[in-house]
């Protein structure tokens, strides 16, 4: 088997978007009959790679080979003709059409130029029977649960001679028996020679199903290995990385003085979002938060900032009890929160850098007390210099900056509001090395200047370097709070892995 060329191979795939390199010289291959797990944190480049392989996005450089021959799947239909099919998270079926019509979509048999309904039903029934499924062919697909719709989407691909099937987070909304049924179908397909690409965040499912694992991180393929030969701890290491390329040598001053309690969150929680947790932040210290995607780390920050309304627990800022019912309340109380998804939740892309920096201070003052143009300009100039934002002037729309410079401008907007507590969600994700170092430096300076920080990051070495404590999240609860003297990357990884084993 290993002598035959892979069904689908990607060589040196590179894809850049303004400000970020989504994929950097990535190699990836799927062999016949192989179930290949593609792993990586959010933004690692998984979805870009899949989109390139299935013809939704065009690559900048690199080659795609099908059966060892160069191929150009430059549109979804052409990729499908070549046998490459994807079943996405939001399953692509037409809920208002019947089961039979969905299975046969795009290749319905015709008779005298009209759709042959009887043959459609028969062929669809056959295709589903191959997957061990028997459904009422005439019922609207929308009336079936997601698990069934997914299997119908797979049946459609299989009937159209899919040779490589990409399953993007197929188990996200399935219960345990449904997952088992899906896995049976996937194993059966693989045993018939179909190549499977399996994307998921559930580590135990990867070990239950896959033959091989490839890990992407920050747009690079950091490793590919047979599943049996890759212990779970190593996999997590590969996914979340060893941190910065240049080792962070700076030692924390041992006599780092602990300031007063800047904020304390006691028993804060929201049903279905995050289980109640306690966090205390002192002035002049950074508390880190680690955990895999979906572990509840972002939700924790949203609760602390009032972007989600807590249904249990209490908050004290600077010794005063506060009720945070909205970000407005939180900002007035002296909190600041820079979200993970810069583009969707952070920047105002069409507005100038100046407006983007001034806006938090402005909304804190209220609409009636406008910051003068001169004051805005001064703020913008000051922070552009202080945080080393690379731009010709403050008039440029922030959307035209690179990711790292956008991140600096977002940091600037919060610092300009003079907060007591700064919450940062993945401040160094998806930015280049230089900007990365600038941000880490800024975090350390802010800490030493007396700000209380809560930093969520997947860069564990970084967290270890600047944090006083690290909160480890898993399954929407805080499972460990590691103190400074017991803090190390290995301890954090162990805490994440130990807990994800028993899910």
């Amino acid at each position: 088997m290993s002598d035959a060329p892979p069904l689908l191979e990607a060589r040196g795939i590179t894809k850049a978007y303004p400000g970020t390199v989504a994929l950097d010289d990535v190699n990836f291959a799927v062999r016949a009959g192989e179930i290949h797990a593609l792993m990586g944190e959010n933004g690692a480049g998984k979805s870009t790679l899949i989109k390139i392989l299935t013809g939704a996005v065009r690559r900048d450089f690199g080659a795609i080979l099908i059966d060892g021959r160069p191929a150009e799947p430059d549109s979804t239909p052409r990729a499908q003709q070549a046998g490459i099919w994807a079943v996405h998270q939001e399953v692509m079926v037409l809920p208002n059409l019947s089961v039979a019509e969905n299975v046969m979509l795009g290749c319905q048999p015709r008779r005298f130029g009209l759709v042959d309904r009887r043959k459609t039903r028969r062929l669809a029934n056959q295709a589903l029977a191959e997957l061990g499924l028997s459904l009422d062919m005439d019922r609207e697909l929308g009336s079936f649960p997601v698990a069934i719709r997914q299997l119908v989407a797979i049946a459609r691909a299989v009937r159209a001679n899919a040779r490589v099937l990409v399953l993007d987070e197929p188990t996200a909304s399935l219960d345990a028996p449904e997952v088992e049924r899906l896995f049976d179908v996937v194993r059966a397909l693989a045993s018939r020679g179909t190549g499977i690409v399996f994307i998921t965040h559930f580590l135990d499912q990867v070990y239950a199903l896959s033959d091989r694992i490839t890990v992407l991180r920050n747009g690079k393929a950091v490793g590919s290995s047979r599943t049996q030969e890759l212990p779970q701890v190593d996999l997590i290491h590969m996914m979340i990385g060893k941190g910065l390329e240049q080792a962070i040598e700076r030692e924390r001053p041992a006599n780092a003085k602990k300031g007063n309690v800047a904020a304390s969150f006691v028993g804060l929680g929201k049903t279905g979002l995050v289980e109640p947790f306690d966090i205390t932040l002192h002035a002049g210290e950074a508390v880190g938060a680690a955990g895999l995607l979906g572990s509840g780390r972002t939700e924790t920050a949203m609760l602390m900032f009032g972007a989600e309304r807590a249904d249990t627990g209490s908050v004290e800022i600077d010794g005063k009890p506060r009720r945070l019912r909205s970000p407005r309340d939180a900002i007035r109380a002296g909190l600041a929160f820079s979200p993970e998804d810069r583009k969707a939740d952070g920047i105002f892309g069409d507005l100038s850098i100046r407006d983007n920096i001034a806006i938090v201070l402005q909304s804190k003052r209220g609409w009636a007390r406008k910051l003068s143009r001169r004051k805005q300009q001064r703020l913008a100039d000051e922070y552009i210099a202080r945080l080393n934002v690379k731009t010709p002037d403050a008039d440029k729309p922030i959307g035209q900056l690179s990711g790292g410079n956008q991140q600096k401008a977002l940091l600037a907007r919060w610092l300009a509001s003079d907060p007591k507590v700064l919450i940062l969600d993945e401040p160094t994700r998806g930015i280049d090395v230089g900007a990365h170092a600038d941000i880490v430096k800024a975090i350390e300076e802010l800490r030493d200047s007396g700000l209380a920080l809560y930093v969520i990051s997947s860069e564990l070495e970084e967290l270890v370097a600047y944090s006083e404590r690290v909160s480890v999240m898993r399954d929407r609860r805080q499972v460990a709070l590691l103190e400074r003297d017991e803090l190390s990357v290995d301890r954090i990884v162990a805490a994440i892995a130990a807990s994800s084993g028993d899910r």
């Binding site: 069409d350 407006d355 806006i359 402005q362 909304s363």
Partner: protein, 331 residues
């Protein structure tokens, strides 16, 4: 490195207006001639401004709504309601000042209703304002009892027919409102906040902008300006026609905002450019009328003119032209 300098945002709408005015002068050399008749300024240009006043007022309200990435389809119906309320009050013997107050209050109530649906219940703006677009005309008919309510009140009628220092009242009203609104949004932070909501509503919430109140406010303002338009229309015909007042003016108002450089994706607010858009649209209409085309041709010609103007301003076309210029400069 060659740098393509992009045009400032105000340039395309202003250029479009100038082109339309220029075409009008070529066709009718007397277009820009102003004369004083009985202490009142007259001429084609004045006519354009007077006729365009109701739509300009609707568009001034619409501009704020569109800047938050919303839309207000109910403005025509609100015009009808406000007109009906005013005419009814006058016919019932109310003073002209209280008639104005009642009509504006009715418009404000309509706007607040829309604002609540969009800001608090998070309904899609099109759906939310469609309710009042349909129901509003019915409400107006209820107020007038299905009749055309007429009145005889000289001070009220002067809102459409009167002059102050030779300038017709509707022009003064529109100019005053445009200046006041510009001052309001630029001397406070409202302009920035409205644009921020339009560009990225989620981020606006997270930086602490009171998005709900501001959204309610822009719809409320749209209700008030629509009521003002209704007052002028009612004063003009000295009566309220609930069936026809403000009919089909919603698309005109939206078009005016777009001709003024607004984007339905939100994030751009300029009352000055909205006035530019209003003049452009009305100048096209007047030009077609003056040229003596049959009315059925008029709508088609207007559509053609508007399409040309929008295509020329389209970002895709401008990018393509820039791209070509770059390549030519490079070779």
């Amino acid at each position: 490195m060659i740098k393509a300098r992009s045009l400032p945002g105000w340039a395309p709408p202003v250029a479009a207006m100038l082109v339309v005015l220029l075409i009008n002068t070529v066709l009718f050399p007397s277009f820009f001639q102003l004369r004083l008749v009985d202490g009142r300024l007259t001429g084609s240009l004045v006519d354009v401004l007077i006729r365009g006043a109701p739509v300009a007022l609707l568009a001034l309200g619409m501009a704020g709504v569109i800047a938050t990435r919303g839309i207000d389809l109910s403005v025509g119906a609100v015009m009808a309601i406000a007109g009906a309320v005013a005419a009814n009050a006058l016919a019932g013997g109310a003073s002209w000042t209280s008639a104005i107050v009642y009509a504006l209050a009715a418009g404000l109530a309509c706007g607040l209703w829309n604002g609540m649906l969009v800001g608090f219940l998070k309904l899609q703006p099109i759906v939310a304002t469609l309710v009042l677009m349909v129901a509003g005309r019915g409400i107006a008919q209820l107020i007038t009892g299905g009749q055309i309510t007429t009145f005889d009140d000289a001070p009220f009628a002067a809102l459409a027919g009167g002059t102050l220092l030779t300038i017709p009242a509707p022009i003064l009203i529109v100019a005053t409102i445009a200046v006041l609104l510009t001052l309001l949004v630029r001397s406070t932070a409202l302009g920035l906040m409205v644009e921020a909501i339009g560009v990225n509503p989620r981020a606006a919430e997270l930086v602490g902008i009171n998005t709900r109140s501001i959204v309610v406010a822009v719809y409320a303002l749209s209700g008030v300006t629509a009521a003002l338009a209704g007052i002028i229309a009612t004063a003009d015909i000295k009566g309220a026609d609930a069936n026809n007042a403000g009919l089909w003016l919603e698309p005109d108002a939206i078009l005016v905002v777009v001709l003024g450089g607004g984007s339905l994706l939100g994030g751009r607010l300029s009352y000055g450019l909205t006035i530019v858009g209003a003049i452009t649209l009305q100048a096209i209409k007047t030009g077609i009328l003056l040229a003596g085309f049959p009315p059925q041709m008029g709508l088609i010609l207007m559509a053609v003119m508007v399409s040309i103007l929008l295509v020329v301003q389209a970002p895709a076309l401008q990018q393509w032209l820039q791209h070509r210029a770059l390549r030519r400069a490079a070779s």
